[in-house]
C-alpha cells in the first residue's frame, strides 16, 4: 500500500482498459435488463391506456385520451377513487395516532412482554391479508355491522400499522435518549419534548411512514375485497370487478391514474426529505 510499491503493482494501461470495458459492458447489460424487468409491466399498462379502439392491446394502434375521458366520467371509478382517497387519508391518520406512541413505548421502555407487543404490532405483516379479511368479515357479520367507508378504514389501519411502527421505532431508537433528557433538564414538560424535540428530529421517518401507509391503503385490494359492499367500493376493487366483465382500455387508463397518484405521493415526499434519509 505504500507509495513506493504502488507503480509496480498497477498493470499496464492497455490491458487494464480492455478488462474494464468487458466488465463495464456486462454491468450496463445487467442494469438495462434489470430496469426493463421493472418497467415492462408499467410501460405496457401506460401504453395500452392510449389505445383508441375498444380492445386492450400493446402496442396501441394510435394515441387517444378517449378512455381517460371515459374513466373520469364514470361514476363507478370516480366514486371508488374518492372512497380510496378518504380511506387512505384516515387510515394513515389512524395508524399514526396508534403507531407513533406505540413505537415510542417500544423504543424507550423496557417492560415485561415487550417482545410480545412488538410481535403483535407487526403481526398484520405476517398474517395473510386473505385470512385477516375473512376474519374481519366474520366479526362484522357477527356484530351485524354493514360494510362502509368506516369499516374499510378500520381494516386498513390494521395493515398500515406495522409500517408506521417499524419506521418510527427505528428512527426513535436512533435518537440519543440524552437529547430528551437535556430538554427535560432545560425545563420542558413531556408533551413539549415530543413536539419540539422528538417529532422534529424524526420528521424524515414521519414522512416515510405517511407515504408507506398512504400507498398501502390506497393500493390495497386483497383485504378490501372482503370489506367492500355493493354501495361502497375502492378503486382497486372497482378495477378488479371491471376486468371480470370487460377488457377495454378504460382499465389501463384507471391503472395509469392509480400509478400517477403513487408517483405524485412519492415525489412529494422525496422533495420534503431526500429518499436516502428514509430509514426502514
Amino acid at each position: 500500500m505504500s507509495d513506493l510499491a504502488a507503480p509496480n503493482s498497477i498493470p499496464g494501461p492497455r490491458r487494464r482498459k480492455r478488462r474494464f470495458d468487458a466488465a463495464h459492458l456486462a454491468l450496463v447489460a445487467y442494469v438495462v435488463l434489470f430496469v426493463l424487468f421493472i418497467l415492462a409491466p408499467l410501460v405496457v399498462v401506460v401504453g395500452s391506456s392510449f389505445e383508441p379502439r375498444e380492445l386492450l392491446r400493446f402496442p396501441p394502434q394510435g394515441l387517444s385520451l378517449r378512455w381517460y375521458y371515459q374513466a373520469l366520467n364514470s361514476d363507478l371509478f370516480v366514486g371508488a377513487a374518492w372512497n380510496s382517497l378518504i380511506i387512505a387519508i384516515f387510515a394513515t391518520l389512524g395508524a399514526l395516532l396508534l403507531g407513533v406512541p406505540a413505537a415510542y413505548g417500544l423504543a424507550r421502555f423496557d417492560f415485561k412482554g415487550r417482545e410480545a407487543v412488538s410481535g403483535l404490532l407487526n403481526s398484520p405483516l405476517l398474517v395473510p391479508e386473505l385470512v385477516m379479511g375473512l376474519a374481519l368479515l366474520q366479526i362484522l357479520a357477527g356484530l351485524q355491522i354493514a360494510s362502509s367507508v368506516l369499516t374499510l378504514t378500520l381494516g386498513h389501519i390494521l395493515i398500515c400499522l406495522p409500517y408506521v411502527v417499524r419506521t418510527i421505532n427505528s428512527a426513535i431508537v436512533g435518537v440519543d435518549r440524552s437529547v430528551e433528557e437535556a430538554a427535560a433538564n432545560l425545563g420542558a414538560a413531556r408533551w413539549r419534548i415530543y413536539l419540539t424535540i422528538l417529532l422534529p428530529i424524526i420528521r424524515p421517518a414521519l414522512y416515510a411512514a405517511i407515504l408507506f401507509s398512504f400507498l398501502m391503503s390506497f393500493d390495497n385490494a386483497v383485504l378490501s375485497l372482503f370489506l367492500v359492499s355493493a354501495r361502497t367500493s375502492t378503486l382497486p376493487i372497482s378495477v378488479y370487478n371491471y376486468v371480470q366483465y370487460s377488457l377495454d382500455p378504460a382499465i389501463a387508463a384507471v391503472s395509469t391514474l392509480l400509478m400517477a397518484v403513487s408517483v405524485v405521493a412519492l415525489f412529494t415526499v422525496s422533495r420534503l426529505v431526500p429518499l436516502d434519509r428514509i430509514k426502514q
Binding site: S178, V179, N185, L186, G187
Partner: protein
C-alpha cells in the same frame, strides 16, 4: 491556583448551593449509592472521582432528577427537590455526548431553556448572545451542531446549561469525547469559565488528572461511598487509604510488615529485612502486614533521600519530559519517574545494581488486609 483554592474553602461556611444527605440509590436488588453526603458551596467546583461503577454518574443523575433515590434528600439552596420532576429543578447539565438538539441552530439550542421559562424574546436574545460570547461562539449562532467541532459543541452545551442561571451546574465527563490536546486545553479553560460565572459545579470524571486540575475539592468515590474528600493537594499528597493512593497519581506499593510504631506519627516497615521509616496512616499494629506507598516521581536516582533501596535495574522508558525507570526491589517492582535531564539512567545495563532513594515524608505506610 492555590490562592483560589484557599479562598473557596472559606466559602464553605456560606449556605450550600446543593446539599445531598444520606443518598441511597438502588437498581432492583443492586444498591449503587450507599449513603452519600455532599455539600457544594456557591461558586465552588467539586469533582466526583472514581472508577466506573462507583456510583458517581448515578449520583449526578439523581441530582438532575433522572434517577429516584430510595433514601435521602437533595436540596438546592435549602429547598428540598428530591421528589420534584427534572424539568422543574433549575439545574444545568452538560452531558457526556453533549446531547445538543441536532435540528436547531446553536442560538436555538442555547435559547431553549429560556423559551421553556417564557422569558420575553428581547431578553432571550440578549442572554443567549452573552452566553455565546462567554464561550467564544458568538459568530456561530446560526450554525447547526453537526457543523461544529467537538470542542465547539461542548462549549454550546455549556452555554445552553449556564444561560438559565442554574442553582448548580452538573458536568458528566464533559471532556472525555475530546482528543488529548484539546482536553488538556479545555480543562484549564473550563475552570476559568466556571470561576468567572461563579456557578457551583459538580464534575463527574474517572480521570484523576482532570479532577486535580479542575476542582477546588475532590470527592473520591468507591463502591457507592465516599472514600475521601479534600483539596486536590491533600488528596494527592495525603491519601487516606490504599485505594486513594492508587487512584491519584502513580505510586509504588511495597509489601512488608510493621516493625515498630514511632510516637511522632511515623512507623517503620520491614520489607524482607530492609527497614524504612515513613508516615503512619490508619490503624497500624506492630507485626501486622502493611504496604509502603511512594509516588513514582518522588524517587531519586541517588542517595540524597534518607530512605534508600538497593534495586536491580530492569529498563528505562523515555517519555519525553521524563524517564520512567523500572527496577526490582526484593522481587517487588519499583518504578521511578525522573526528569529526562537526570544523568546516569540511560547508561545502565539491565541487571545492574542501582540505588533509589526518597525523603521520609514521601513514604506512607498503610495497613494491608491480607
Amino acid at each position: 491556583m492555590s490562592l483560589e483554592q484557599t479562598s473557596s474553602r472559606t466559602a464553605a461556611a456560606e449556605p450550600a448551593s446543593v446539599s445531598v444527605e444520606g443518598l441511597r440509590i438502588g437498581y432492583g436488588a443492586l444498591e449503587v449509592v450507599k449513603g452519600l453526603d455532599l455539600r457544594v458551596a456557591q461558586g465552588e467546583i467539586i469533582t466526583l472521582l472514581g472508577p466506573s461503577g462507583c456510583g458517581k454518574t448515578t449520583t449526578l443523575r439523581a441530582i438532575a432528577g433522572f434517577v429516584s433515590p430510595s433514601h435521602g434528600a437533595i436540596r438546592l439552596h435549602g429547598r428540598d427537590v428530591t421528589d420534584i420532576a427534572p424539568n422543574k429543578r433549575n439545574i444545568g447539565l452538560v452531558f457526556q455526548g453533549y446531547a445538543l438538539f441536532p435540528h436547531m441552530s446553536v442560538f436555538d439550542n442555547v435559547a431553549y431553556g429560556l423559551r421553556m421559562r417564557k422569558v420575553p424574546a428581547p431578553e432571550i436574545r440578549e442572554r443567549v448572545e452573552r452566553a455565546l460570547k462567554l464561550v467564544k461562539l458568538e459568530r456561530f449562532a446560526e450554525r447547526r451542531p453537526r457543523e461544529l467541532s467537538g470542542g465547539q459543541q461542548q462549549r454550546v452545551a455549556i452555554a445552553r446549561a449556564v444561560v438559565i442561571e442554574p442553582a448548580v451546574l452538573l458536568l458528566d465527563e464533559p471532556l472525555s469525547n475530546l482528543d488529548a490536546k484539546l482536553r488538556h486545553e479545555m480543562r484549564v479553560e473550563l475552570r476559568r469559565l466556571l470561576k468567572e460565572m461563579g456557578i457551583a459545579s459538580i464534575f463527574v470524571t474517572h480521570d484523576q488528572e482532570e479532577a486535580i486540575v479542575l476542582s477546588d475539592r475532590v470527592v473520591l468515590m468507591n463502591e457507592g461511598r465516599i472514600e475521601q474528600e479534600g483539596t486536590p493537594q491533600t488528596m494527592y499528597n495525603r491519601p487516606g487509604s490504599l485505594f486513594a493512593a492508587a487512584f491519584l497519581g502513580q505510586a509504588n506499593f511495597l509489601r512488608g510488615t510493621v516493625a515498630s510504631l514511632g510516637a511522632d506519627g511515623t512507623a517503620i516497615i520491614d520489607i524482607d529485612g530492609d527497614r524504612f521509616q515513613a508516615q503512619a496512616c490508619g490503624g497500624l499494629k506492630a507485626g501486622a502486614p502493611a504496604t509502603l506507598v511512594v509516588k513514582c516521581e518522588r524517587l531519586r536516582l541517588d542517595r540524597s533521600g534518607r530512605s534508600q533501596a538497593q534495586c536491580t535495574f530492569e529498563a528505562a522508558n523515555f517519555l519525553g519530559p521524563s524517564v520512567q525507570l523500572q527496577c526490582s526491589f526484593k522481587g517487588q517492582r519499583l518504578v521511578g519517574l525522573l526528569p529526562a535531564s537526570t544523568e546516569g539512567g540511560a547508561m545502565l545495563e539491565p541487571g545492574a545494581p542501582v540505588t533509589l532513594s526518597w525523603g521520609e515524608a514521601d513514604g506512607l505506610i498503610f495497613p494491608r488486609a491480607d
